[in-house]
């Protein structure tokens, strides 16, 4: 019995590490002068293949999901269940004419989609997609991620400014205002994790969470500060990636497509790709910080390879993003800003305080419950107070129209 168990765990271990072992084998079996190239390619090519593939899958899943939410079928013509739709879309976008406005700044207009896609890809360098599966072992990985994340703003503004179109510029302005505003709560809510884990390395943060008490994991989302932090992080992430309900920069019904209104054909597809890559990356970071990264949700489920767990969690996150998009209408610009500065920012700061309290309260048997209660109160009381305060200013009443009358 024990022998079988050992064999099973050994096998699971080998399947878990199959990509790492293959990588190692391939590098050691190439001649010395080419090793650097092979090792780089073996890291870059899978990232360049897997995540755009996931993008293709997500586009069709999103359209089908939104369709079902609206009691429609969604795409079901190309291939079985419409799953080959992305191929048709790709062919279409490749064969479209690439229109560049005559008054556009040619170089910047050309560079913007390239910059946005390359920065979106760079974020994956520090994302652990499985045990020992990370492109670059960076001690300050989180810092790198946020720095690269901010670089997309540059590309967005390049696109908006160089197009010389009012809608583009408006979209870009909105995007910059929104991204800068939401970057603050995004980073502040992840600081709580950094405080508890004591490291900026995504790998180590995951390792911290990949421990089990009994069968239950030590994911940060199962603590009061982690839960609040996770919600804050994902809300800010949705705004950061211009995702509905924070899709003001694109706002089809208001400013057509925002900053990429003057892009057509494959450049448009690149913007689309970059947007989804950012969503995956920031969801991946949310998983890494709060949902235990590649670790299994229950200790005995660890036989399933770690990379499957990561991608399963990622798909769930994508599903939630689609669900939220199908539910909520777009915010107005002032609502967006109010929400960022009057609610998200104070809550993120309170969350940091809560994480500090959690860290320094003693961990005895009695204190486990007490610590929980104290920290939950630290989150819930300000939440209710803030919600009340925000709602007080808003009185919903019927608008009285006054017409120009004589006398």
């Amino acid at each position: 019995m024990n022998g079988y168990f050992a064999m099973a765990t050994g096998l699971a271990e080998r399947v878990d590490q199959i990509f790492v072992t293959f990588d190692h084998w391939a590098v050691t079996n190439t001649p010395e002068p080419l090793r650097w190239l092979v090792s780089i390619l073996l890291i870059v090519v899978p990232i360049l293949a897997v995540f755009p593939g996931l993008f293709a899958l997500t586009t069709v899943l999103e359209r089908k999901g939104l369709g079902r939410i609206q009691n429609r079928y969604g795409p079901n013509r190309v291939g079985p269940y419409g799953l080959l739709q992305p191929i048709a879309d790709a062919v279409k976008s490749l064969t479209k004419e690439d229109v560049v406005p005559r008054t556009a700044d040619g170089v910047v207009h050309y560079l913007a989609p390239l910059v946005i896609v390359s920065t979106a890809f760079l974020a994956y360098a520090v994302l652990p997609v499985g045990r020992n599966m990370i492109a670059v072992h960076l001690d300050a990985g989180l810092l790198f991620f946020f720095a690269i994340g901010s670089a997309t703003e540059l590309a967005v503004f390049m696109a908006g400014w160089s197009s010389r179109n009012k809608y583009s510029l408006l979209g870009a302005m909105r995007a910059i205002a929104q991204m800068i505003s939401y970057e603050v709560p995004l980073i502040l809510s992840s600081i709580a994790v950094i405080m508890i884990a004591g490291t900026l390395s995504p790998e180590k943060i995951v390792l911290e969470q990949a421990q089990y008490t009994g069968i239950f994991p030590h994911w940060y989302v199962f603590t009061p500060w982690g839960f609040a932090g996770f919600l804050l992080f994902m809300t800010a992430a949705a705004a950061e990636t211009n995702r509905s309900p924070f899709d003001l920069p694109e706002g089809e019904s208001e400013i057509i497509a925002g900053y990429f209104v003057e892009y057509s054909g494959f450049k448009f597809a690149l913007f689309f790709l970059a947007e989804y890559l950012e969503i995956f990356a920031v969801s991946g970071l949310g998983i890494t910080l709060f949902l235990g990264g590649w670790s299994a949700p229950l200790s005995f489920l660890a036989v399933i390879p770690s990379w499957i767990w990561f991608f399963a969690k990622l798909l769930v996150m994508i599903g939630v993003f689609i669900w939220v998009r199908g539910t909520m209408p777009r915010l107005r610009m002032d609502q967006l800003m109010n929400f960022a500065w009057k609610f998200m920012l104070p809550m993120a700061l309170i969350d940091m305080v809560c994480a500090g309290v959690w860290r320094f309260l003693p961990g005895g048997a009695l204190w486990v419950v007490l610590r929980w209660l104290i920290c939950a109160a630290i989150i819930v009381v300000p939440y209710v107070a803030l919600a009340r305060g925000l709602e007080q200013g808003r009185k919903i009443e019927q608008r009285v129209y006054r017409y120009a009358e004589e006398g």
Partner: protein, 213 residues
């Protein structure tokens, strides 16, 4: 409470999402090429020419009177009259169209040609899947493509067809009755004439006899 409405909305959309898989009635989309809704009786698209019997040439109702051609607002009908005549359904000798073309890329489906036709020869079709890769020849329909049997008309517009058929049967009956009456009158006249002739003959005979006697 902040967030309450969001949760409510999420539950609602989730109910719709799951419901669309469970309850088929929710999905109102008609999957067009495979499924299709029946067209209403009054649906119309482009005109066609009616013929009686089996032969589209012999049974064609059109007598080439050019009324529809003149009334057609976008002028999409082109008719060339024949030089000889053929009998129509009541047996009367009528011209027929040597050429009858409708350019459906010009036709605006107004049904005026149908309203003005005194011979019930042109009617509106329901066929709407007419795409072709030849935008000139493929959309210029000749007599051959336009001619369709009366049974087809009865199938696509049953109420209208019943009315037309009843009227035409009545007309045929009247014509036949008239013809019969005319024939009877002619026969009576002939008989009378014959009688008169006979009488005259008899008179003549007597008269002829008289001098000879």
């Amino acid at each position: 409470m902040l967030g309450e409405g969001i949760v409510k909305g999420l539950i609602e959309t989730a109910r719709n999402f799951v419901g669309s898989y469970v309850d088929k009635d929710r999905l109102v989309t008609v999957q067009y090429p495979e499924e299709r809704n029946p067209l209403p009786e009054a649906a119309r698209n482009f005109p066609f020419l009616l013929y009686d019997g089996d032969d589209p040439e012999a049974g064609l109702r059109c007598v080439s009177c050019h009324i529809c051609e003149k009334e057609c607002p976008p002028r999409c009908i082109h008719i060339e009259k024949s030089t000889d005549k053929k009998p129509d359904f009541v047996g009367k000798q009528q011209f027929y169209p040597k050429v009858f073309n409708i350019d459906v890329s010009v036709c605006m489906s107004c049904q005026i040609c149908v309203e003005v036709c005194p011979f019930d020869a042109i009617r509106m079709d329901k066929e709407f899947e007419l795409s072709t890769d030849d935008r000139f020849g493929g959309l210029l329909w000749t007599k051959k493509e336009l001619a369709k049997p009366n049974e087809y008309y009865q199938k696509i517009h049953p109420m209208e067809a019943a009315e037309t058929d009843a009227r035409r049967a009545e007309e045929l009956k009247q014509t036949q009755a008239k013809a019969a009456a005319a024939a009877a009158a002619a026969a009576a006249k002939a008989a009378e004439a014959a009688k008169a002739a006979e009488a005259a003959k008899a008179g003549n005979g007597a008269a002829g006899k008289e001098p000879s006697a």
